[in-house]
Symmetry: none
Subunit: 201 residues, 4 copies
């Protein structure tokens, strides 16, 4: 029970601290005290404060990624269905992990050059992996023609993201499961719309 996983204790305490306050405001002292570990251990596991911060960010997206693609319905090869599924699962995951979501938001507000650089790289890599997996082995025969696939994927992705973003603003305070239903129905509406225009009759 005691010497279980002190690294995890540090990570948990760090998420908590960095979710509540900005990078600079949080001192490593706070973290180790809250985690109930020694000062040295933090620097044993993480080279320095910045590395800790970046690692946390990376782990955050890893976690969400896992949430999205665990038991992801691979059987369905419909690109639009998959995209929507991905967004819904991602949103669901972020609702579940509130501290981590708050942390991610803070990381995205950070303006320190080194952190911006690292953050951008991680975020883009995460996005790429996401879309690669979503659009992997999709059924291209469903489309009217396969000349504008790239544009179509972009438009659909952007639209879905915009809807999610607006929904977030307006339904943040509602009961999670209800709110998620609303999001689903809103996305579904456009799903039908897109299929009408881009899929074969």
């Amino acid at each position: 029970m005691k010497g279980k996983d002190l690294k995890n204790d540090i990570v948990r305490a760090a998420y908590k601290a960095f979710a509540k306050a900005d990078y600079k405001q949080v001192s490593t002292n706070q973290i180790v005290q809250d985690a109930n570990v020694s000062k040295g251990l933090l620097f044993h596991y993480f080279k320095n404060k910045q590395t800790l911060y970046i690692s946390l960010y990376e782990m955050a997206w890893s976690l969400i990624h896992r949430d999205i693609f665990t038991d992801f319905p691979q059987a369905n090869h419909d690109a639009f269905d998959r995209l929507m599924e991905m967004i819904v699962r991602k949103t669901d995951s972020m609702i579940k992990h509130q501290t981590i979501t708050a942390f991610i938001k803070r990381v995205h507000m950070n303006t320190m050059p080194d952190i911006v650089k690292a953050r951008t790289q991680i975020y883009q890599s995460f996005q790429q992996r996401n879309y690669k997996r979503v659009f992997d082995q999709i059924d291209k025969s469903l489309f009217k023609d396969d000349q504008h696939l790239d544009e179509i994927f972009k438009v659909v992705t952007w639209t879905f993201n915009k809807i999610t973003h607006d929904w977030e603003r307006n339904h943040a305070k509602k009961e999670p499961s209800d709110a998620l239903k609303i999001l689903k129905s809103e996305l579904e509406h456009y799903l039908v719309f897109f299929k009408t225009y881009f899929y074969k009759a």
Copy 2:
């Protein structure tokens, strides 16, 4: 001869520093060095770092307020015209003072309780003074009826603000004077629309 206006030098250096980095990142040392004044002088004029920050924020809005209402066309008593004029002038002012605008944006991202409190108070007071002045002695006879004036003002204000906000996102990188023309024409469009519905024929 020597003592030109060192307070101003401090203020300028502080705006510059606080526009580029967050409150915590900026050290008073940087500011006094850039301003080329002694350490003590900053604290002679401003009780402490926080007071400096808040004062800067207050002065920022004061400046913009002055820009808006200097030679403001008071002769025109049309509420919608005035509101649009105010927004255009405010936007113009913020385009002109880029450092100050960047600073304001950073202040609005700050999450430190004391600063949030002070910021909110200053911002609201600025908003109130603005709208009081815009809607002062307007010609109510232009309206179809004066029963829903409050609602009308709110809807129009919100719409104009939303348009400005979206425009900001999309035209930030364009040549300022061109961008402003676009904003004007977009607002004008809705201006006509609102007059059609809310004013007497």
Copy 3:
């Protein structure tokens, strides 16, 4: 009314401040703010903080000295009577000027070498002038013999001082005029006693 005597304002504010807190705790800023004068003026009248402090101390004893010897009954040439009168008047004066008394006590607790040196010199000079004046032209014929005058004066002085000291501790909280009556009667008791032993029958 306005430009009356700013030096006095400084002095008053300084006494107030130095009576409430120790030398180091009191900042010249506090003093000038309370006195409502400029920073420079303090240093115009007093070379530096320490000089101010010492001057205040000197002025304090001057004031008490004046209180003691204004209308002092010079006609009475009895040494013991005069000594008692002096002590009663001094005590009375210190009761009247509470702030100054509190200030003096603080000066006496101060351990800074420079201040100790200056204080000691002033205090001793004040004591000397006091006793010189008290024992000036006294009637030596009243004594049994004039061989041990020095010892006698010392013993009487010490005794009276000790009584006053003890009385101070025990009657500090009583109504001043009542307390003073008690002191007088206690001193009187020893006055009679000393006369019995040291004066001719």
Copy 4:
């Protein structure tokens, strides 16, 4: 090898400094320089300057307490003997630790509210523990009656303290061991006196 006991070095240097000058006069810089440790170490062990000061005061009384009650003759259950023994040991301890004694005196002259509060609490707790231990399991059968025990203990305590206090004033400069003999004999005198009146024949 290096890290012998730097905390102790800090404590020693701090006692030295705070014994020679008042709280405000002493800078943490002086202390760490004299102790030959880094600036940060002081604040590693003591939250801030005030905490250091208060801790030092507490440790001072702890030390004296230990001096008093190490090998304290518990076999003797005579209250008066014990009280006298306690006072002699306390005085002896304070003579031995001159720096600490000087420090304690300075703490007692300090007028800063926070320090006064902390000091009072520590001092009273120390006094209580002292008297509790001195009067623990005393032989009440020695007294003529046990109706006025409380008053008797108080009177005896006060008297002994007064004698010690006066002795301190008058014998401060003598050779310690000689001076202590004088104190002992003075206390012994009153010890006999009290026993005559309060103990059974």
